[in-house]
């Protein structure tokens, strides 16, 4: 299970004057669940492309610094590792699921991913079924991939990545076109995979209200830089940064900040301040404790 070290990484696309990434410094431990968010154009997809090797292997540009994968066998820069080798560790869901799908039939798309990584053929059927079930598209197994709805295509791309069960799963806004039910289901599966098999998950998402209770670390990006990162309960204390970046503070955290303003809670950085609630349930419990005076 490799550790990922991003060391002073900057990247500029060809013929552009501003860098898409500026001096990114980030270490992702094996088995961490990291959620990245930020405005459009902040550099989120570019960062993921540097981690999964699309940059520099397929996308040209000016790269400074490096992304390292570190295993017990040693440490090597992503740019120096061959792409088939990278594919053994890293599975990706791109921001454009449709562009990622290459097979005419849903089932073949999942099988294609598995064949490429040398999965035992006797295991194939079960792996395919499981991945389709996890993404709620078992009924689409024999469906032509070019005749699916947008959200169905996105589910196929996620299923293909899940079936691979790689050590590192990289997902670029995988739920952008999913219905609320599907979004929750997919995030739940990711969280379970991460918990049970120790898979590293790096996900870019706008829906941080759903990610905050699941992730170990929340990263806020703006104009090519990491502005704030840390455990969600810590990051969500800094309401001002959210406001400044125009990123929505999830409702439970907003309630807490509003309670501080009302004088019903001590300032969040004072000792003994309760932890920031991440879910509606936690916000309820906090409110109840305040009312009963406990």
């Amino acid at each position: 299970m490799p550790k990922i070290t991003i060391d002073n990484l900057s990247f500029a696309y060809p013929d552009t004057s501003t860098e898409a990434l500026k001096e990114i410094q980030l270490t992702i431990e094996p088995g961490e669940f990291v959620a990245i968010t930020g405005a459009t154009g902040a550099g989120k997809s570019t960062l993921l492309r540097c981690i999964n090797g699309i940059i520099p292997h397929f996308q040209p540009g000016t790269l400074q610094g490096a992304v390292y994968l570190e295993t017990s066998a040693g440490r090597s820069a992503v740019g120096r590792v061959s792409t088939p080798h990278l594919a053994r560790y890293i599975g990706s869901v791109f921001d454009d699921p449709e562009g990622q799908i290459v097979s005419p039939i849903v089932e073949e798309e999942i099988a294609f991913a598995l064949e490429n990584t040398g999965v035992d053929p006797t295991q194939m059927d079960e792996r395919i079924q499981h991945a389709l079930d996890d993404c709620g598209i078992a009924h689409l197994r024999q469906h032509p991939t070019n005749r699916l709805s947008g959200g169905q295509k996105q589910r196929v791309a996620i299923a293909a990545a899940l079936a691979l069960a790689p050590s590192i799963l990289i997902l670029d806004e995988p739920t952008s076109e999913l219905d609320p039910d599907g979004t929750e289901a997919v995030l739940h599966v990711l969280s379970e995979l991460h918990r049970q098999r120790g898979i590293t998950v790096i996900i870019v998402e706008q829906k941080i209200n759903l990610l905050a209770p699941l992730c170990d670390r929340l990263v806020l990006m703006d104009q090519g830089r990491i502005v704030l990162e840390g455990p969600p309960r810590q990051v969500l204390r800094q309401a001002d940064v959210f406001t400044q970046l125009g990123i929505e503070l999830p409702v439970p955290a907003r309630l807490m900040h509003a309670l501080v303003k009302e004088g019903a809670l001590p300032p969040l950085d004072s000792p003994g301040a309760p932890p920031v609630p991440l879910t509606v349930d936690e916000a309820y419990t906090l409110s109840q404790a305040l009312l009963t005076g406990s």
Binding site: S176, Q206, G246, A258, Y284, T285, Q288
Partner: protein, 297 residues
């Protein structure tokens, strides 16, 4: 736009059926009328038929049974180009729509087809790009924009058209909070000016805050045609249609269990209600069972 006075039935689906060549019946007998000046949200599960329905209103799809009328005209008898003067459309996938190598030309394409040129064209394009915060990218290749930026580029294309009807398939997907609210503000402004707006979305908060009328589709059928309030009160419908209440509504319902209310639910108003209750001293009516979940199924 005076051709369609407010309240005039503008988009009509009558017994609309659509069966794809694969045999998949994506719409089964949908009846709905959208009036001039309305702002309507269409929601429902992936594969419910949302895109299939709206593509009937710009003529890209024709009914396999039933009728679709746009401005009273049967879409089977009008060309797509002609319909484009009334209805402009933002595709779910921006890459299905973008085909120019320069953002200016991409946004200018529609207005040019309407016969605009010169200064007026330049102005239309500039103000549309400005509205979606892409003015700085006017000479760039849209293919080199980020995904969310590409989606906004397609929204600019539609804004530049100023057609009576705007249909937007998931206009805020991939946008952050501020960006999606900005897009909605533009649409609200157009709505105020009398444009008819139809948008597909999976964002329940946006539905709650911005829509007057919601169409819920499920398996090719219209499950609800009503207000957001009606929708979020129907737990069983929410479940069937794969929908969720927005977190703020969920929180409001939970805090009601503690006797807290706010007429307009926001985190701030609920906090204020809570704070004033605390000042009144410890409550006697509070149910101390932790994690009770009566309000959310």
């Amino acid at each position: 736009m005076d051709v369609f006075p407010a309240g005039h039935p503008l988009l009509q689906a009558q017994q609309l059926k659509h069966t794809f060549r694969t045999g998949r019946c994506a719409l089964q007998s949908v009846n709905v009328t959208i009036h001039a000046g309305e702002m309507v949200a269409i929601i429902g599960r992936n594969g419910a038929g949302k895109t299939t329905l709206t593509k009937h209103f710009n003529g890209l799809l024709k009914p396999t049974a039933g009728t679709v009328l746009v401005g009273g005209q049967d879409t089977r008898r009008v060309s797509v180009a002609q319909l484009a003067r009334t209805v402009s459309y933002v595709f779910q996938n921006p890459d299905h729509q973008i085909f120019h190598g320069r953002l200016f030309d991409e946004v200018a394409f529609g207005p040019r087809n309407l016969g605009l040129s010169g200064k007026e064209l330049d102005q239309r394009v500039a103000s549309a790009l400005d509205a979606v915060n892409l003015a700085a990218y006017v000479d760039r290749d849209p293919a080199e924009l980020s995904r969310g930026q590409r989606k906004r580029a397609t929204i600019a294309s539609v804004l530049a058209m100023k057609t009576p009807v705007l249909i937007l398939d998931e206009p805020t997907s991939g946008q952050d909070y501020q960006e999606s609210r900005q897009i909605m503000a533009i649409l609200q402004q157009l709505h105020q000016q009398g444009h008819t707006i139809l948008l597909i979305t999976h964002d329940m908060e946006l539905v709650q805050e911005q829509a007057q009328r919601v169409l819920v589709l499920g398996d090719g059928q219209l499950l609800l045609d009503g207000s957001p309030d009606e929708l979020f009160r129907q737990a069983s419908l929410l479940q069937i249609a794969g929908l969720r209440r927005p977190p703020i509504i969920d929180l409001q319902h939970r805090l009601e269990e503690l006797g807290l209310t706010a007429s307009v639910p926001t985190a701030e108003s609920l906090a204020a209600a809570l704070a004033s209750r605390i000042q009144q001293g410890p409550s006697v009516h509070v149910d101390p069972t932790p994690g009770r979940n009566a309000a959310c199924p």
